[in-house]
């Protein structure tokens, strides 16, 4: 089960929509796992961070005090797996008083009005 590979040949555009904080629920961690498998299957992978999902990319996460794994460094490693399309909604950052400098990785900041167009460009939406 470890070294799965997809033989179908077909490529679809997957959009991973991340709307939750890290740690409070398991979804942020699981989203990363699925993204990496999707990339290993040679699918076209984009990640969108909106609402509380933008907190997933916050620098300086230190979950040792709650005995959680610090998986935030994985976002930095995504590039190595050819996952390079990370979109963050500007309004979601602003409401939370966050700036791009607060984020762990380089992202493309888009206005909320562009989210629909982004969704429309994708074949499969996975919500985390």
């Amino acid at each position: 089960m470890e070294d799965e590979e997809y033989q179908g040949g077909e490529v679809k555009k997957f959009l991973y929509v991340n709307r939750r904080q890290p740690h409070g629920t398991v979804y942020a961690l699981e989203s990363l796992e699925t993204v990496l498998i999707g990339a290993a299957f040679d699918q076209d992978v984009s990640m969108l961070f909106i609402d509380d999902g933008v907190y997933q990319l916050k620098k300086e996460q230190a979950p040792e005090g709650i005995e959680f794994k610090n998986f935030s460094k994985t976002y930095r490693a995504l590039e190595m797996y050819d996952v390079e399309k990370l979109f963050v909604e500007r309004e979601s950052l602003e409401e939370r008083g966050l700036a791009v400098d607060d984020l762990l990785v380089d992202v493309e900041v888009i206005p909320g009005s562009d989210v629909k167009a982004l969704v429309d460009q994708h074949d499969v939406i996975l919500s985390f």
Partner: protein
């Protein structure tokens, strides 16, 4: 290119409905299921928001979820169409993709 958006939580409990409405536009549809079915009612504090959103997008509510909660189709906003599970399947098939706002 149209998207079927599914919302399943009450607007009184979670912000997922308003977060969905902010990101959709013309040609999109919204299906209200489970606890979100009450957002389709005409007399709640969220009715105005739904009326205004339904000028741009088409809204549906899952009837069995509405009935489970003690409401009939007479309590619905005019702009909202009620469907059963067969209608749910039909909506999935007639849109290009499905986006669940969990």
């Amino acid at each position: 290119m149209s998207t079927l958006n599914i919302v399943n939580k009450s607007p009184f409990e979670k912000r997922s409905l308003e977060q969905c409405l902010k990101r959709i536009g013309e040609g999109d549809s919204v299906l209200l299921i489970e606890d979100a079915s009450v957002s389709a009612l005409s007399k709640t504090a969220y009715a105005e928001q739904l009326i205004s959103a339904s000028k741009l997008s088409k809204f549906y509510v899952l009837k069995p979820d509405l009935q489970a909660r003690g409401f009939s189709e007479e309590s619905l906003l005019d702009s909202i169409e009620s469907v059963d599970y067969d209608g749910f399947v039909n909506l999935v098939v007639t849109h290009d993709r499905v986006h669940s706002w969990l």
